[in-house]
């Protein structure tokens, strides 16, 4: 059962890496973003195949269980991504306001 689960996670991670590479090819992801996501999915695959790695890492950080370390990292990562997305959305909103404003001034009294 565990082997099947490991296989599925590895396949999913491979699929995710291919998707990252395709987004990079389309120009939707920058160099740093591509490296980050590839490392992230490689990490997921490694932990799935060798579950002890996360436990060893947790021991080094003085955290009791490997799953707790994974949990802390996930939460930190999610908050970071939400922050990045919010900043991005705010930037897009400002661009939209600027374009709408310029458009209204161009079309004055039309």
């Amino acid at each position: 059962m565990l082997v099947l689960f490991q296989l599925l996670v590895v396949l999913f991670a491979l699929f995710a890496i291919l998707s990252v590479l395709s987004k990079k090819k389309e120009g939707l992801l920058g160099f740093k973003g591509t490296i980050f996501w590839i490392l992230f999915w490689v990490g997921i695959g490694v932990v799935a195949v060798w579950p002890n790695t996360i436990q060893n890492l947790a021991d080094r950080f003085g955290i009791g269980r490997g799953v707790d370390l994974a949990f802390y990292i996930s939460i930190a990562l999610l908050f970071f991504l939400i922050f990045k997305m919010n900043v991005k959305i705010e930037g897009l909103k400002r661009d939209l306001s600027r374009l709408t404003r310029e458009d209204s001034l161009r079309d004055l009294d039309k």
Partner: protein, 219 residues
């Protein structure tokens, strides 16, 4: 030149009378129609105002800044912020304008609480606005008697410095914080507000707060 900026959203019933009465006090009126779904823009144009139309509904702050950009391009010496819903009184404009000139202030801020002419609903007067005043104090460092009053007169210096980035209602607090930042001389002036409806709903306050908090993280 004294130019009035009137942000408007679905005000086809009141905008015409607002414009006609404003022409007694200012040289030019620009209505910023924030993507109304009614005939606000057509009515405003017929009444003699210049009309700028947002193709997307952005909010009152964005509409005011669009008016600011227009006013800077026109080289306006003084500008008036005046709501398009007919809740403010034109009788306050001339004395406020005089006060701006005689006091040497950069900006006049209307206040409903410096006299007793405004019939402010009880909950708003005793709960929402005092909280708004405190929030403004917290975010801006300036304590005023009113929060979120749509009546303002700016001179060219204030117009140059006040560049609104808060698209929605948090612009009122942003303006005060820019006054503080650029050390603009400001004076509060009593104005009368007549309530047709309740105005902003209580929940709008939370949205303003959210915009202000998040705005702190942006440039």
């Amino acid at each position: 030149m004294f130019l009035a900026i009137v942000p408007a959203y679905n005000e086809e019933k009141r905008i015409s009378s607002v414009i006609q009465s404003l022409f007694q006090c200012v040289d030019e009126i620009v209505v910023v129609d924030d993507c109304s779904t009614d005939k606000t823009a057509e009515v405003a144009k017929k009444a003699g105002a210049r009309v700028l139309r947002h193709k997307i509904n952005l909010g009152q702050g964005a509409a005011l800044e669009t008016g600011h950009v227009y006013a800077r391009e026109r080289g306006a010496e003084f500008i008036l912020h005046f709501d398009g819903d007919g809740q403010l009184s034109v009788e306050d404009i001339s004395p406020a304008f005089e006060q701006l000139k005689t006091s040497g202030a950069d900006i006049i801020l209307g206040s409903r609480f410096l006299d007793t002419r405004s019939q402010v609903p009880w909950f708003k007067r005793t709960v929402l606005l005092p909280v708004g005043v405190l929030i403004n104090k917290f975010f801006t460092g300036l304590k005023l008697t009113d929060a979120h009053n749509g009546f303002r007169i700016l001179n060219a210096r204030a117009l140059d410095k006040i560049r609104i980035t808060q698209d929605r209602m948090a612009h009122a607090t942003e303006i005060i914080s820019l006054i503080k930042k650029y050390n603009l001389k400001h004076v509060e002036f009593p104005v009368k507000v007549v309530y047709h409806e309740y105005g902003q709903r209580s929940m709008a306050g939370f949205r303003i707060l959210k915009d202000l908090v998040f705005g702190k993280f942006m440039k």
